[in-house]
């Protein structure tokens, strides 16, 4: 893998420098001096803050500009920062939240905050290290966010998609372009355009301290990846197997920011992702060799072929039987004026048997529940006046 940095491998647009001096003048007497201790004094980040009911900036935003965002509502907009060196992060955030935004802006569930981490001066090997260490602690990062963004369609965790299955093909930057998708929580796509990795986890919030803590955690990952070659990173991750080792590993990454994380169940929270890293980056020659030996005499092959025959027979037998017949009953029930008698009109026993037969994997409770709903629907329809709708269609309305 190349030892060159990304900016040596490809040309990027020069970073647009914000008017920091003008901001310094503007904040004098309004904001107190920054006090937050970020771990990487040499880092650069970009920040995107989505807001609804945005309105116009109250004062000159200096280091921020507005972009329209189609995913938001109620005059939603995105405030995007210029690239910010670490020593400008706190001041810039304070300026935005205290002075630029008016008091009625809304951080609804649709809004989020994205942090772009500058990785132009990282090598491909360091990026791979960052992917590995991020993957290992992904759940902890989502727990820090804390509002359930892992279920968002715009912030999919790596744990729930298969992007890392192809990680063993990571040898060239091409990997990042061809395989990655924007709406992952950990988005590698901007590497090729801006030279950044985007962290999309954070929910919209007015809590500036939480945003700064979040940036500090991201910088911790970056710093750990910069100082740990990918081979060594993989060895460290592969060696994780006891609670204390997980604890040591996470403390080693986050150091004085460790306390920001929920570390109650480190092993449970990290284990699957660690397993996935091990699997993705190791050569499973056993499995490959087995597949080479797959023939039509292989037990699994023979069983699958036999299964197909069995299922065809079953389908022929069961086709258009149970469930459809029940709804034929329902359609006819519309003409029944009075509440039907249980014993005369609804044969629980035979229907129970048929449902069990058609759903062999259902347990008794599931069959009973299903039967229950069918009976109640049947009952409801039996009590209704005859309807004009097509008789094999059921109308459900729980209001």
């Amino acid at each position: 893998m190349s030892s060159k940095t990304l900016e040596q491998l490809q040309s990027y647009k020069a970073l647009a420098l914000a008017p920091f001096e003008s901001l310094d003048v503007a904040v004098k007497g309004i904001l107190s001096d920054p006090t937050y201790q970020f771990p990487n004094p040499d880092g650069w980040v970009g920040i995107e803050v989505e807001v609804e009911n945005a309105g116009r900036a109250i004062v000159e935003p200096y280091v921020w500009y507005q972009k329209q965002d189609g995913s938001l509502r109620n005059h939603g907009t995105e405030w995007v920062s210029y690239p910010l060196p670490t020593n400008q992060i706190e001041k810039s955030l304070m300026w935005l939240y205290r002075c630029v935004l008016h008091s009625k802006v809304d951080f609804s569930v649709r809004t989020s905050i994205h942090i772009h981490l500058n990785v132009r001066n990282m090598t491909l090997d360091q990026i791979l290290s960052l992917i590995i260490v991020y993957m290992a602690v992904e759940k902890l990062m989502f727990k820090f966010e804390g509002t359930g963004r892992y279920k968002s369609i715009f912030c999919v965790p790596l744990e729930e998609c298969s992007l890392l299955d192809t990680l063993n093909t990571y040898v060239e930057q091409r990997f990042l372009v061809e395989y990655w998708m924007k709406y992952t929580a950990f988005n590698l796509c901007p590497i090729t355009s801006f030279g950044t990795i985007e962290f999309r986890h954070m929910h919209g919030t007015k809590d500036v301290k939480k945003i700064m803590d979040w940036i500090a955690l991201i910088q911790r990952l970056e710093m750990y990846a910069r100082t740990t070659p990918s081979k060594e990173m993989l060895e460290r991750v592969t060696a994780l197997n006891t609670n204390s080792m997980y604890n040591y590993f996470v403390r080693d990454i986050f150091r004085e920011h460790f306390h920001l994380l929920n570390s109650d169940n480190l092993k449970d929270d990290m284990e699957y992702n660690v397993m996935q890293i091990k699997y993705s980056l190791s050569n499973n020659s056993f499995s490959k060799e087995l597949w080479i030996n797959l023939t039509d005499k292989s037990p699994i092959y023979k069983k699958i072929k036999a299964r197909q025959g069995i299922l065809k027979k079953n389908i022929a037998k069961l086709n258009d039987t149970l469930i459809q017949n029940i709804f034929v009953d329902l359609s006819q029930a519309g003409t029944t004026p009075a509440t039907p008698s249980l014993s005369d009109d609804f044969d629980f026993a035979s229907r129970w048997q048929t449902i069990s037969h058609q759903h062999p994997n259902w347990n008794e409770d599931q069959v009973n529940q299903f039967l229950d709903v069918i009976y109640h629907e049947w009952l409801e329809h039996s009590q209704n006046e005859p309807q004009d709708e097509p008789q094999n269609i059921i109308l459900w309305d729980s209001r």
């Binding site: 279920k151 369609i153 999919v156 729930e160 998609c161 298969s162 992007l163 998708m181 924007k182 709406y183 992952t184 592969t238 197997n241 284990e271 699957y272 397993m275 091990k278 699997y279 190791s282 499973n284 056993f286 499995s287 087995l290 597949w291 030996n293 797959l294 292989s298 037990p299 699994i300 092959y301 069983k303 699958i304 072929k305 036999a306 299964r307 197909q308 069995i310 299922l311 469930i323 459809q324 709804f327 058609q358 994997n361 259902w362 599931q366 529940q369 299903f370 229950d372 709903v373 109640h376 629907e377 709708e389 094999n392 269609i393 059921i394 109308l395 459900w396 309305d397 729980s398 209001r399």
Partner: protein, 208 residues
């Protein structure tokens, strides 16, 4: 949720509904709008029944989340459910935001067809609690694989008759029920298999 939002997020997707008096939720596919007027309704297709017409009612439709189970069985086969981080608006399950695939499909095994209509199985599925139970279940002629966890499962052998242990779509070792041994052939996951045995209280099994 408004009717317009509902259509934008759920038309042409699969999701679960809780019907009156039904404790078990049912997967349906929102195929078309029937009535846009005061009585707003849509066609919901189900796997086993005829089409339903449901009136739009947020109390009726209660479960928009994707299945939490990652690996499940359907008619004896193993499937994996994955989310796809594409740019799209659908919240219900559909091919734009998720996929279902067979871990055996990659390897020239006879064609295994499936689509999202099997999603009910993903929500209903419960992993078999022990290896002994799983091996017993595997004796069923239609049962090709049996899941032990969201990632481990067993199947018949490929090269010989020994039962295989899998991690997702890769075989990682053999299961010997007589000796109660798991022979791990992909060593990096040996600890995870050991952890699985410990957590599922099968400590009389050994990993070699």
């Amino acid at each position: 949720m408004t009717w317009e939002d509902f259509q934008q997020h759920y038309k042409d997707t699969y999701f679960r509904i809780a019907l009156p008096n039904l404790k078990m939720k049912m997967v349906v596919y929102f195929s078309e709008v029937v009535n846009e007027g005061r009585s707003r309704s849509f066609v919901a297709k189900t796997e086993k029944m005829k089409d339903l017409i449901l009136k739009f009612d947020t109390a009726l439709i209660t479960d928009f989340v994707m299945p939490s189970v990652r690996m499940f069985e359907h008619e004896g086969l193993i499937y994996i459910f994955d989310r796809l981080p594409n740019r799209q608006w659908s919240r219900g399950c559909c091919s734009k935001n998720s996929r279902i695939y067979s871990p055996l499909g990659k390897a020239g095994i006879p064609h295994i067809s499936h689509d999202f209509s099997i999603l009910q199985s993903a929500w209903d599925h419960a992993h078999t609690p022990t290896i002994i139970n799983a091996v017993a279940k595997l004796a069923d002629p239609i049962q090709i694989g049996v899941t032990l966890t969201n990632h481990f499962w067993i199947s018949e052998g490929i090269k010989d008759v020994n039962i295989l242990l899998w991690y997702n779509s890769g075989a990682i070792g053999y299961v010997n029920t007589k000796k109660r041994e798991i022979e791990i052939r992909f060593a990096v996951l040996a600890q995870e298999v050991q952890d699985y045995l410990f957590r599922s209280k099968q400590e009389d099994w050994h990993v070699i």
